[in-house]
Amino acid sequence: MASPPPPVKLLGTFASLPVHRAEAALRIKGVPYELILEDLKNKSELLLTHNPVHKKVPVLLHGDRAVCESLVILEYIDEAFDGPPLLPADPYDRATARFWAHFIDTKCSRPIWLSVWAEGDRQREALREVKQNLALLEAQLEGKRFFGGDSIGYLDLAACGLAHWIGVIAESGGVSLDTLMSDAEFPNLRRWAAEYVSDEAVRLCLPDRDRLLAYHMANVDKNKERAKSM
């Protein structure tokens, strides 16, 4: 008799965007998993053993394998499990998806954070940069329901911050989402965001908005300090 498939566990925490990417990928792929919530102020042996280099979440445990870094986890989930594909089949389309995911990870978070928490010129400059970045992503969505086409894929998961976190971060800093990503300037992104957060698989693992907002509002002073040293 065939042995049961090795268990899948995901080490994560509540508000984490990278954790959501991994969890949503598992759900879309149809992979049963156990979510283990970490207290990052008191990291478990499990976390420290399986991500000794970064000591961060998410960590995907698949049998005795550990995979770290959310975008690496997404590709692993796509390759190791059967189910709907997360990345396109064509090498050029795959390269395009990876390019934009890398762009989002390296160019987007800092200006968004500063556009909410910095002051004066620094804040204005950051806002300009945010809009430049969003315009590029807006263009990528032209004529498409999701970055992945008809269904949510790798790049949609990579971009999830723009569907959910950006609005919460803005609100926690007393800034309207419309200041950063207005419907008038970014109709594709706003439409995509609404579709993303209401997707069946995504909804079940998206952090509750009110709770996420409370989490960010509880850290206002820390957020301002962080902006100063960025």
């Binding site: 870094e69 690496v72 986890i73 590709e75 692993y76 390759e79 390019f99």
Partner: protein, 237 residues
């Protein structure tokens, strides 16, 4: 190489002298047996070709294949691995999903935790410089341990992580001399030193490795510019 193995469309690679990122792609193309034409940029005077095909970053390398552009060196390496995959050509990323994930993890570590602070440690000053140097050395230690008696990060053959780390094999030594910043002292990181020697003497790598003296002259000529750019970047923090 038989004509049956030639790719259907010509491949162009936009590069610039001394770029370790473009070097990664050249090695990838050569490993896969893909003939290519180099278009060498003067980054102080960027061509329309470069600006049109990499409008987002305006940097090299850019791969042009069948009229389409691929940017970001490790994205290009994966593209080359997939688009020119043949039974007779070596794999750059391994076949197994877990080994692929491990390779991608280390490439990401090298980029963010090693190469970035390394560059900054060469040109920054004071407390910031010390911090970047410390971070780089810590990462070099981690990488040294990762090699644990392996010939290459990829095992017996050169692979994705070796390409990600190529800067450490040739560029680091040159930068240390030009900037006067020593990160790898004598006797430190023995596995990494041995790997670096293997890397630069590899038959395929040698074809697209910049000459050490030319590289040193290039960095020396640009060092004031690097220093002021890094000063600015550190001040913004």
């Amino acid at each position: 190489m038989s004509s049956q193995q030639q790719p259907a469309a010509p491949v162009k690679l936009i590069t610039a002298f001394g770029s370790p990122f473009a070097h990664r792609v050249e090695v990838a193309l050569t490993l896969k047996g893909v003939p290519y034409e180099l278009v060498v940029e003067d980054l102080a005077n960027k061509s329309e070709l470069l600006l049109a095909h990499n409008p987002v970053h305006q940097s090299v390398p850019v791969l042009l294949h069948s009229g389409r552009a691929v940017c970001e060196s490790l994205v290009i390496v994966e593209y080359v691995d997939e688009a020119f995959h043949q039974a007779t050509a070596p794999r750059i990323l391994p076949a197994d999903p877990y080994h692929r994930a491990t390779a991608r993890f280390w490439a990401d570590f090298i980029a963010n935790k090693c190469l970035r602070p390394m560059w900054l440690s060469m040109w920054a000053e004071g407390e910031a410089q010390a911090r970047f140097a410390r971070e780089t050395k810590e990462s070099l230690g981690v990488l040294d341990a990762q090699l644990e008696g392996k010939r290459f990060f990829g095992g017996d053959a050169l692979g994705f992580v070796d390409l990600a780390a190529c800067t450490l094999a040739r560029w680091l030594g040159v930068l240390e001399e030009v900037a006067g910043v020593r990160l790898m002292a004598d006797g430190e990181y023995p596995a990494l030193r041995r790997w670096a020697k293997e890397y630069v003497s590899d038959e395929v790598v040698r074809r697209s490795l910049p000459d050490r003296d030319e590289l040193a002259a290039f960095f020396a000529a640009n060092k004031e510019r690097y220093r002021s750019r890094v000063r600015e970047a550190v001040q913004q923090q």
